[in-house]
């Protein structure tokens, strides 16, 4: 039996599964909670609404993200090196080749989006093409292709449906929509129904926000792992991450805000975390990512016996 140099990470998988379980539980809690306060039909309606909106976002994800980043698709003739690199990585990983896009911005970044591996887009900015060497760029592309292979857009969108449903409820309260529900049932405990709904949805929204960020960081770590194993060169991804995060913090805040909408899918976040950084950041810290890459490097370089 051939030996394997692929090391699993049980801890990461366990944490990720737990977070996804909690997010699912949150969704059920919201629907059941609504059903109990304002009636079963409406609870299910809101739940379906949340899922429906998430599915809509997911099916349009490539167009939404490409537009947010101002990216255009490029053909193999326009960017032969980039296409050649992705061709080889896809042949190594045995996955369908995604479309390739380039965004004209100096912020060095890359992202992958699209509803399925067959319909995916991998996009890089002109900034990242200038900053990175071809080895480092390959590491970044392998990371993005891993997002595609892991169907991260789908997983993150489904995971966010509780948050979306709760957000819709809060918005509804803003426009007084929930006021209409007030008269539907007598409540003996004195609290108006719309207030209960508002509080529940705010709590669900807050909890789902934190859990989603946690999930996003785990998915990033997974993509780093898979990407490093694909290129067999964790060092290149490590130096690319160091370069990108360094460059990113050197760029003025105003430019960064313009691209914040798509940052959850980028290789390094384009927004600077301010307070509550550990709870609310979409990406793990550089140290965590470098530590993991160092472990993979050690395993790949282990001498033969």
């Amino acid at each position: 039996m051939a030996r394997s140099r692929f090391i699993g990470d049980k801890g990461l998988t366990a944490r990720m599964t737990l977070v996804m379980f909690l997010l699912g539980g949150l969704f059920v809690l919201l629907v059941v909670g609504l059903a109990a306060t304002v009636g079963g039909g409406l609870g299910i309606l809101i739940g379906l609404g949340g899922i429906g909106f998430a599915v809509f976002q997911w099916s349009r994800s490539d167009k939404i993200a490409m537009r947010a980043m101002g990216a255009r698709e490029v053909s193999p003739e326009q960017a032969p090196e980039l296409h050649g690199m992705i061709d080889r990585l896809c042949a190594l990983a045995d996955m369908p080749k995604p479309r390739v896009g380039i965004a004209e911005t100096h912020v060095p970044n890359a992202f992958a989006t699209g509803r399925s591996p067959d319909r995916a887009v991998v996009c890089v900015t002109t900034g990242i093409l200038q900053v990175l060497t071809s080895e480092e760029l390959e590491g970044v592309l392998a990371h993005e292709l891993s997002h595609v292979a892991h169907r991260d857009v789908l997983v993150m969108t489904v995971a966010s449906s509780a948050g979306i449903a709760a957000g819709m409820l809060t918005q509804g309260a803003q426009y007084g929509g929930l006021g209409l529900l007030g008269g539907r049932r007598d409540n003996n405990n004195g609290l108006p129904v719309w207030l209960v709904v508002l509080v529940v949805s705010l709590v669900v929204y807050a909890v789902s926000f934190v859990l989603l960020r946690l999930l996003s960081r785990y998915r990033e770590m997974s993509a780093d792992r898979a990407g490093a194993y694909l290129t067999m060169n964790p060092g290149a991804l490590a130096s690319a991450l160091q370069k990108i995060t360094g460059e990113m913090n050197a760029i003025p805040e105003r430019d960064l805000r313009q691209v914040s909408a798509a940052s959850a899918l980028c290789i390094a976040p384009a927004i600077r975390g301010v307070s509550l950084k550990t709870l609310s950041s979409t990406h793990p810290s550089l140290e965590q990512r470098l530590e993991q890459l160092a472990r993979i490097q050690a395993e790949l370089g282990r001498p033969t016996v």
Binding site: R3, S4, A91, A226, Y229, G301
Partner: protein, 194 residues
């Protein structure tokens, strides 16, 4: 189900290479010679990604020693390309296709035994006809399928001889698994022997 679980947990495993189909090359070579007049050039290459560190360097040394240590030791050389892949090329007598495939297979199995199977990209066996047209039979390890790659005449512009590629693909379709998805017929400009 396995794919679903891998997606949920974000743990796709590196795809292992499929090595056995490589032994179909000798019979395909005979077909190419009789049907299209393409003869083997006697070289064959394995293209892989070298991992960093001592583990891979040792393995590569082992591979070279293994091939050079054989009784009828062929000439072997190692080169790199601009995409960071390593090409290990074996030169044999053009008539000895069986020996060439055994050499290439020895490279693959050694890499796989040391846990570097996922780093294998492709293997090429170039052919040439009397008019000087060259075409390589490329084996994709992860898809376990073959495809032809023919650089166009002239060589200045990177243009492929698509008609020759299609002809070779159709000729061999009954004998070897030819890659059906043409998007995976990746160009290998500057591959050894082309």
């Amino acid at each position: 189900m396995a794919g679903f679980w891998q997606a949920i947990t974000g743990r796709t495993r590196p795809k292992q290479a499929d090595l056995d189909a490589l032994f179909l090359v000798p019979s395909a070579a005979i077909t190419l010679q009789t049907a299209i007049g393409l003869t083997p050039t006697g070289t064959g290459s394995v293209c892989y990604r070298a991992a960093r560190g001592a583990g891979f360097a040792d393995t590569q040394t082992d591979v070279l020693e293994l091939i050079r240590g054989a009784a009828d030791a062929p000439q072997v050389d190692v080169s790199g390309d601009e995409f960071g892949f390593t090409w290990l090329t074996v030169h044999r007598d053009p008539d000895d296709m069986g020996g060439l495939c055994t050499d290439l297979h020895a490279v693959n199995t050694t890499l796989e035994l040391e846990g570097f199977g996922p780093s294998l990209l492709c293997s090429t066996v170039p052919f040439v006809d009397s008019a000087g047209r060259r075409v390589a039979l490329v084996y994709l390890y992860k898809q376990a399928s073959f495809y032809p790659f023919a650089p166009g005449a002239g060589g200045a512009a990177k243009q492929r001889d698509t008609l020759l590629e299609l002809q070779v693909g159709e000729t061999l379709a009954a004998e070897i698994p030819v890659e059906k998805d043409k998007a995976r017929w990746l160009a290998l400009w500057g591959a050894p022997g082309l």
